[in-house]
Each structure stands twice: as structure tokens, then as C-alpha cells.
Amino acid sequence: MGVAEGSGPRGPAVSVIRAGMLTTVQDAGRWGFQARGVPVAGPMDPVSHRLANALVGNGRGAALLEVTLIGPELEFEDERVVAMTGAQFELWLDGRPAPSQAPFIVCAGSRLKFGSRQHGARAYLAVSGGIDVPETLGSRSTHLVSAMGGVKGRALVGGDRLPLGDPPSRAPALAPHDPIAPLPDRHATLRVLPGPQVDYFAADALDVLQSAPYTIAGNSDRMGFRLQGPQLTHARGADIISDATPLGVLQIPASGQPILLMADRQTTGGYPKLATVIAADMAVAGQLAPNDTITFAVCTRADALKALIAQERALMAVEDRDS
């Protein structure tokens, strides 16, 4: 684990002037410990996370900041390359507009301030060298409920000082890059595959799921989106013996209203699961906020894989541009 606060060498860092609404440190997630009840966490929009790291020359799993709805104000202690991807925010560097979806240089003493938000819910701010907080179980991702990872397991607050890693030797990308996953404008169509427990529901449940949009309720967070829309009917009761809860699964409690499980979901749950959002569409899901709407569309495994391969090719084109 890292040195105690206030002791030991103090390398370069970013200081948090204002934290924004919910700004957390996230890497690619805490994989490998779900059998011990440890949630994965990681970015809500994994594509924008990877793109931000690629734009500043970081490895794809480097820790960066996930910014939610209202962004932070930060001060840099040394020169760095930074890039913001995902949700569209106004961005101000020492009072002047800074680009989004593109790398730019900040100087020692520079202040970077998020302004108003146009589209999307979550922006990803990567800094060359990555956020170098200590790893917990092999990951720097913040999991809020279990108070693990990031800065003391919590969202950033004003006054936090985020240590930075050594900048990578490879050059950052030169040009801005269009978003790889389309940024939704308050509505998204998410493709799902049926299952794992489609046989726990009425025969028409998948038709009902696709019949009209669902609205994301206010009490939705990084664990899951509570949805309000067409009523789903169980065929064999609403309780099952708890089993694993994959990312993107739609679990249906007794209310008949689905919950879409997101990055901070628990590892297990006791509700039957009707369908699962495909991996390629989780980036779009991660850009939604309360009161936004979702239309679900059943697709095939071949469709899902095709979409994921297209996404991967686009990301690798940015990551591997020098090699």
C-alpha cells in the first residue's frame, strides 16, 4: 500500500479545487475477486475511458477521472498532456477554451475548469502518467459502497491531492478524435440478448420490453439504473436463489420494473434476469442520466460481436497509431 498521508516523497500531483458533483478515480475495473464478493467498478463508459487514455499516450488501463454531470476544477503541479472524452462539457484552461476529444498541454500551475454540459452524462479526463493512487486488490477504481480504491474509497472533495505517475514515453495523439460510441441525446437504443433467465417470465416479456421506452428514475446511480416503463410479468415468482449479476443485465424485482445493472453492481442478486445489454452498447448506457429514456431492442450474438469488433478496431486505431 502507499505511504501514509503527509509523509514520504511528494511527487507531482493534481490538486482538486472544486470536486464537481461526483468525480471518481477509475481504471479498467477490479476484476478477479467477484467470487469473494468484490464488485468490479470501473468506468460507466468504458469506450470513452479507453479513448481518453489513448489520446494522452497512457496504457488502456490507466486510472483517470470519471466526471458526472457537474465537473471539477483542477490545478496541475507540473506540465502534463490531458484529454477529455465522453460527455460534452465546456472546458476552460486558465480562462481560455480548451478542446474536447483531443489532447492538449497543461503547464505547472495551470487551472482546468469544467463548464456547462451539453450532451452525455459522464466525461473522462485522462492525464499523461495516470492517477497514481494506491491499488487495492490490483485496481485503483473507486467503489463507493464498499469504500474501496480511488481516494479513500470515496468521490473526490475539494482539497484532495491526486498523485500522478511518470508520463509515458510515447507521444500523445496529435489530432482530435470523434467519439467512438455515439453520444446519446437524452435517449438511447440499447441492444440486448435474451437471458439468462428468460424462462422465469411470461412468454411475451421480451415483446413487452421492446414495446415502448423506459425512463431512468432519479434514484439511479453507478450501481444501477432503475427504469420505469412497460410492466414485465414473472411466470415463476420474483425471487430466485441469489446468483451472479453480470454487467448490463436487466433484473426484474416484484414491481415488474427493470433495474439495469451498471459498473458498481453487487456481485450477486436475488431477482430473475430477463435480458442483458450487449457489451458494445454499455458505453452508450453509461452516458445516460436520470429522466433520460431507453428503448430496448433484441439482437443476435452475431450482431453483438460485430458491434464490439467495430468498436475495438476504432479504439485500436488510436492506441496503436505509432506502432
Binding site: G37, S146, I241, I278, A304
Partner: protein, 224 residues
Amino acid sequence: MAGRILEAGDSALIVEFDERIDPEVNARAIACAEAIQAAQVAGVRDIVPTYRSVAVYFDPLHTDHDALIGCLEREAALFTPSAAVEQATVRIPVCYGGDLGPDLGGVASFARMTESDVVRLHTAAIYRVFMLGFVPGFAYLGVVDERIAMPRRATPRVRVPTGSVGIAGGQTGVYSAETPGGWQLIGRTPVKPFDADRADPFLMKAGDAVQFYPIDRAEYDRWA
């Protein structure tokens, strides 16, 4: 009792056995998870045994889907290992009752026996770790003697201290983090079920055999 294989999106497969809480079914799921782990299929990211299933998470771009299904079909058809245990592998000290176990009196009333009889029954059994979940390091243990298997509280507590030992029907367990919770709290252990800074952060894993033993308040205070 062959397992069936279910797709959970494009990045997870689930081997599901009979839907019941049963040591034999659970032993089957855990043995299946261990066999899948040992097979080391490329692209697999996480393997999660539960009461009666195994979830296998994988990266669809780096996994041979047919090979993975073949592996799961093979391992799901394995014979059932014995779930019988003669000796606990994990022993957990508990200070029962008082302010550390505020519901011990309630469980005694429910069971129409003395508090010390509740403690005697709770410590007599060797419990199986059916699975971990809820929060890091939280183990679902069973099966609790039906005489003291009191259901959850009608209103959950907003805050349950770490180390609290609870009963919820046939289940018992140790809160591994401070969380809200509705289990009947009969005592507290000074041992942390989860400590990220410990050499082995987790006290328990699925399939372990666990027994509780009583300690007095002075001993609890020395540990804690």
C-alpha cells in the same frame, strides 16, 4: 443433476444447477468453478460460484466461444463431490449478546430457550460457506439449526457495525463492512472477514467449513 448452460449477454455464461439451497448442489457448483479455473481457457476474466450456479465472465474478443462452451459442458457433467465435512477449516471467535449482540434476547424468545442455549446451538454447527456476495468478504453461511432460524428484522438497521454476527432464517454470517442490514444480530467477532491490507484479505471462500466459538467481553476487547 447435469448443469444447464445459459447465456448472459455476450460476455458471460452461466452454468446453472438445481434451484435450491442444498450443500450437495453447492458443492457441485464450487467443484465446477474450480475445474473451469483449472482449465485456464484464454479470455476468461472471472469465475463466480454461487449457491447453485457458476458465472464465467470472459472477453468475447479474446475467447473461443465454442471452446469455452465445450469446457463448461464437460465440467458441468462432473460427478457430485461429497459435501460432508467433519472438521471446520475456519474458526471464528464471537462475543455473544450484550451491546455487541442486541438481538440475542429476541432470538432466545423466538426459540423459547435461554440465550446460552442459542449460543450453544449457534456454536455447535459446522457451517458451509455457500457463497460470497453483498459486500467484499461477506459469506453466506448455512444451514442454521431451525430452532434458532429467526427471520430478518421487519425494519432493517441503517447501520450494522463490521464484525456483527447475524441470523436470517437458515442463514448466518458476519458483516464484513459497515452497511445497512436486517439480520438478527446475536454477537460480534473481533476478526475482520475482509481486510485489504492483510496478506490474505479474505477470511473465507466458497466451500469452507466454518465454526463459531464463544469468547467473553474481555477477550473480545483484547482482540479488537
